[in-house]
Every structure is written in C-alpha cells, then in structure tokens.
C-alpha cells in the first residue's frame, strides 16, 4: 500500500507539474527517463546472475550449465521468449523461475525450501540469487520476438487456467486481475494501467519485465510483479513458482507473442 501511495504521490506531482509546465514538462520527464535508461543497474544483477549460473554450488558441487531451459541443456540464448513451456522431465509446464527451482534442486542438490525461502531480494545483505539468475537469463533474449509454444496439451491447459485466474474475482474486495487490466486508458490514481486484453498492451507489459525498480533499488521479475498484484488485490499469498503463477504467466506471455523482448528494463 505504501508503495501504491508513493506511486500516487509521484503521479500527483506529475500532474501538477504537467499542468503548470505543459509540453516542456513532459519533455523534461522524457529526458529524465532517457538519462536513466543509458545505464541500468540491472546490469549488476545480470553480471551476478551469469556468475551464479557458472558457479559450482550446493551439495553436488555443480553449476547450472547443464540446466535445460527448453532449448536443450545449457542453451540460454533465446530461451526466455519461449517460456513458459512443457518440460518432459518434470511433466509440467514451467515458467523461468519454476524451471530454475527444478534445476537448482536437481543439478545442485539444494533443497527446494532453501531455494524458495527468500526469492525476493532486500538490499545487499539479503540478495536474491533467483532475481540475479533471471536478470541474466532474460537479458540473453533481448531483441528477440516472444514465441511461446502452445503445442502440448498441458501448455494449452495452463493457458486456459491462467485465463480463468485472470478473470477470477475474489477476496475481500471482489477484485480480479481484469478489474484493473482490461480497459483502455485506465489509471489507479495517475498510474497508467496496461490493458492486458489488447495485443499491444500485453506486449508492452510482458516484454519490459524484469525491471530495475528505481523506487526499490532492486531488480524485480514477472513473478514478483504478479505476487505484488495479488497482495494489492487482497488475495492470499501465491506460492513462489507455484502453478497458479505459471498459469497466469502462460496466459500473459502467450498474449504477448510477436512482441520484441526488451528487458531487463528500468522502471520507477
């Protein structure tokens, strides 16, 4: 909530300034965004993630270099734009984070509960290995087109389940994802809400995560984005790399098909 209020505060000032300054104001805010975009601290996460990928760790003293992200063991380039997808070895549709949990447990022998205990980082004393790995792996798909496979029946099932979750009204406030994300030009306070029901809206949203959040000083992934949406929906907590998140991610990723992947980006 606090974050929502902060976002609102930003937006509030944005309007006040926009009204006083007009075009010039928008130009300056654009200039501000451009100045930031030139150097993205997410690169620090990418570098750390690449190191983590190659480091021998865990009881099996193994690296993740044999991890199959869908294009074969060790193939990272372009893997993210084809996720989530069905994996025969686990018999499941997995998004990147769910797949990484499998690789870390299977290849390195690190227990699942240790991997998912603190998936979201909080400062330099509680860094998230997952956020770093995801930052690097996604960066290896930059410039590629989203192409989420939908040939396997399980992939279709997860897409349909994800669609249902998107429209599922529940909780104390009767909110669904769709409450805020199925109309054009909608805002909470002054914060623009992408319309995830349109091709353009879905592409612009999905292809710009993960992002270095200036307000948090952390790289946040799609997993975190959805987790925090559910918090604001007043839902219970979705498990990290759980099927509900994977299903919803399948729905959002597939709807973004054809969009050019741009992340990790920088957002406020």
């Amino acid at each position: 909530m606090r974050r929502m209020l902060l976002a609102a505060a930003i937006a509030a000032c944005g309007t006040a300034l926009a009204q006083s300054g007009g075009d010039n104001t928008m130009r300056e805010i654009e200039r501000y965004r451009e100045a930031l975009a030139a150097d993205n601290p997410a690169e620090l996460w990418e570098a750390r993630g690449e190191d983590l990928w190659k480091q021998k760790r865990g009881p099996r003293n193994a690296s993740l270099e044999q991890c199959d992200l869908g294009l074969g063991p060790g193939k990272v380039k372009g893997a993210y734009v084809q996720l989530p997808r069905f994996f025969a070895d686990t018999g499941k549709v997995q998004d990147l984070e769910s797949r990484l949990v499998s690789c870390v447990t299977q290849l390195q022998g690190i227990p699942r509960e240790d991997v998912v205990r603190q998936p979201f980082g909080a400062g330099s004393e509680r860094k998230s290995d997952m956020e770093s790995l995801v930052a690097w792996i996604t960066s290896e798909s930059r410039g590629m087109k989203m192409a989420v496979p939908m040939a396997h029946p399980e992939e279709k099932r997860m897409y349909e389940v994800g669609r249902q979750i998107f429209f599922h009204r529940g909780g104390t406030h009767d909110f669904a994802c769709a409450t805020c994300h199925s109309g054009d030009d909608k805002r909470i306070r002054l914060q623009d809400l992408p319309n995830l029901m349109t091709k353009d809206g879905a592409q612009r949203a999905y292809t710009t995560w993960p992002a270095y959040r200036v307000s948090q000083g952390e790289v946040r992934t799609m997993q975190h984005r959805l987790w925090d949406c559910f918090r604001q929906q007043r839902f219970p907590e979705p498990g990290y790399a759980s099927d509900a998140i994977t299903a919803l991610t399948s729905f959002l990723a597939k709807n973004a098909d054809g969009g050019e992947y741009k992340a990790p980006t920088q957002k406020r």
Binding site: R169, G170, G171, F175, A176, T179, S182, R234, D243, A244
Partner: protein, 221 residues
Amino acid sequence: MKKMLLYPALFAVTLAVAGCTASPAGGAGDAAAAATRSGGTDWRQAALDVMRGSFRDRGIATKDRIEQDDLQRVCSQYPDGDVPKEVAARLEKAQEATIRQPADGEYLGDWRAGERIAQTGVGWQWTDTAQTVAGGNCYACHQLSKAELSFGNLGPSLYNYGKVRGQSDAVVKYTWGRLWNSQAYNACNNMPRFGHKGLLTEAQLKDLMALLLDPASPVNQ
C-alpha cells in the same frame, strides 16, 4: 474492532459459497458457460483446483479468500461487463437484501475524516494486520475534490456529487446503499462492497457520506 468486523464478512462469504454449490450453474447464461468450458473441460473448476494448491494463508490474507461467493463467481464469467439482464437482476436483488441502514438513523459523519478515508488505501492486505484501520482508497478510482489531482478513472467522477443531487431522503439512502453494496445497483461493476464485506466501519461510511453530500465538503466546492 477490526477483528470483530471481520467475522460477519467471512460468515457472509461462507454462506454464499454454500449457496454456490447448491446451484452450480448459478443462473449464468450460455455465454458464460462457453467462456469457462471448451473441449469438455471445465476451465473454471480447473483454475480453482490450481489456485487452491498454489495460494496460502499469509497473515490476515487467509486462503479462503480465493473461494467465491455467488456474485464473484458469476461476475468472473462476464469480464466485459456484458451481464445478461436477467442474471444482473437476480444478482442485484440478492445484493440489495444485504444493505443495512445505520442503526441510529444518522447518515452523515465528518467530511474531514471522510477525506482521509478516501485518501488512504491501507488495509486488508497480507502486509496489514487485524488492527490496521483500513481506508477506502476512493481516489484510486474516482475524482472527488478539485484539489486532489491524483485520482484514478476506473470509476466515475464524483466531483460535485452532493451539489448536483442535494440531500433528499432518496439521495441519502441511495448513496448509503452504493457505499454499503454497490453491486445492488449495477451488478459486476468494479466497486468493492464496503459495508457488506465489513471493509469499512459504519462510522467510516458515515464520514464518506459527509464527504459526498455535505455542502462544505471539498467534493462540493
């Protein structure tokens, strides 16, 4: 205080959920059935099963919150808001029956307190506690006063709400009903049922009433 309030809301949900199982189709039309079923699969049921396995209690945000009452379940099937007339009428009637008028017959509180409630969005999240005094977060979706430029547009503008409508008995009761359970008027709109679900206290609702109707409130300036 908050904790006590929570129970009636949960109770209501439990009742409603029980109601669902009694009439699985929920009176929903064929269009809704088509959206949730294809190739012989009930995707809605599949999604519920997945959600039940994926969500968990965290603090006050308990797992039962993913279970739907009749209104939530039916509305989920009409994401575009194109609810068939007869379905909407049935839902609205059931929701209207939940509206409780203030015990003391007083409807208007303090608009200053109402403005604070409208500005605050805290409450009911897993980062809150049972002691958290929840806000209404009205500005998230509505324009209210002229001074507050940071307002959302998921709901209609309420600027000059009282100035335009006055304070007749009918307006006062309608406004109270809207706050208590907005689903009684146009089913499946986006607004939470602040009274029915116990999201705000009766005193808080009165303060919001004053914010909307009091001629001195910034809403009517």
